[in-house]
Amino acid sequence: MLLFLVVTFVTFVIFFMAPVAPQRLVCGGAQAKPECMRAATKKLGLDHPVYYQYGLFLKRLVIERNLGTSFITKQPVNHIIGRAARVTASLVFGGAVLWLMIGLFVGILSALRPRSLLDRAGMVFVLIGVSAHPVWIGLIFSYFFGYKLRNFPIHTPIAGYAPILNPAPGQEGGVVQWAYHLILPWMTFAILFAALYARMIRANVMETLNEDFVRTARAKGAPEARVMRSHVLRNALLPVVTMLGMDIGLALGGAIFTEQIFTLPGLGRTAILAIQSYDLTVVQGVVIFATLSIIIFNLIVDLLYAWIDPRIRLT
């Protein structure tokens, strides 16, 4: 809660100090008419000091659940964020499934056969994954799969995204198109995390394999598969849950690079466009959404932990 206040206030103050006059933006930039600007100043409360403006903003947010209207497009910010969040969520959750699958597969196999060819290959992948910048990976994927092979869309008429429900006129929609448009972004987005997760899972599994209770399980006569499933993985994957929760929470604030390359109208792209045009209300909306998602996912992780790790109890 405190975090939430601090983050929104800081964003607010930064924009207050920016060398632009919101009333001018609202009234159409350089040719703004004086009477329009006067009316806008009144309406936005710009003649009051910053803390008063912040108070107004909080009041509107908490009581009306309203983020205001965009200075530029005049659309309600709630609506803008809602649309962009769907895109980012599609990217992040799909990407998370992909990176978990790769991370678990590579991590567990290389932990079971340390220093084998498989392990080496896995670690080369990890090195590439953590070193390569997502922009570069995205461009490589676009070039090979999109341009050379022409298998995937990189220049669709309306951005690189197809919603599942209610596509706009002239836009493709439905689950198949949705997934089809997202495959390259998913891969680009997931590679860094897949590499990080593979390395972490490998280390955790190897460490857990050396635990005394794993030896106890073997001494009981448990088959290797059972030892792995019930004793090793259960313990080794506890920290992965924490990481996953935090990373998803963080990424929901906008996967800026991936969205930018594949022109996905997600939160990251929305934020960049809004910052470039000093559209304070939209930026503030993105910031609030990102903060909330981080807070909520941390809470989910904590609750989940109490459920899967008996050493932690809710009090």
């Binding site: 209770f213 448990a222 050493r311």
Partner: protein
Amino acid sequence: MVRAVEGVSFSVEKGQTLGIVGESGCGKSVTCLTVMGLNPKRNTISTGEALWKGKNLLTARARALREIRGNEISMIFQDPMTSLNPVHSIGKQLIEAVQLHRDLSTRQARARALELLKAVGIPKAETRLDDYPHQFSGGMRQRVMIAMALINDPDLLIADEPTTALDVTTQAQILTLMKRLQEEFGSAILIITHDLGVVAETADDVLVMYAANVVEQAPVEELFNRPQHPYTWGLMGSLPRLEVDMERLTQIPGQPPSLLRPPAGCRFHPRCPHVMEICKTTVPELAESPSGPEHLQRCHLDQETKDREAAKILEMTMAETG
């Protein structure tokens, strides 16, 4: 390559207890892990044979070995704090041990688990079955480990320093418990320890190990009455005594040798107070002592010196009891 254990040979009979004593790193634990087939396969080579009811455990197939582990032979480990899985309740872990080897319903297995928890003296066993390891003290966890080891009525129980991580009063309780359960269940016990006191209390026969070798092997009475090897004397001499006023405990000078490059000749010679020229070049055989084939020792010293030194040690220990 480290030869962690070399030329070790012993046998345990039903209802008997064999103690293996020695310093840290002398190969006690490796010996037992080898018998259980629990050494990491990737980087260990085990040769020789471990005969269990006529079957060689070292060449047995993984599946056959698994059926023996936890069922006919079970094991208790040194550190009860880390030997139980922290994310499963102890009931679940006990039930797992039963169901791996017996075709019982969970309800029946649970009843069996409860029975064993009561046998090892866990108070309010019914309510504690669903508790997790972190809710138990060290001594209680070791009791749980013992319950888990005995749950399938094993014929052999290997206890790898079962009391090392526990405080002294708990040690005594655990040892008494093991003794009592041995009478009840009739298992043979192989107890590994670095504590001669534990051996004296529990074992019927003793194997003294030094630097991967057996240096002396005898029935417990015989070992304490006529110790034949300078290393055994050293161990006995360094036992703490209550009535003798000492600034420091007597100790065997020096460090155990590196097994990467063990010393030539007798492995104990760099630390032996009675070292002779022959000790530095020739490895002594594990030979019978005058007391008979029960008592084996690996030392070049002449019998007269051995008896004299043994008498000296005995006098010191006698001073304690008398």
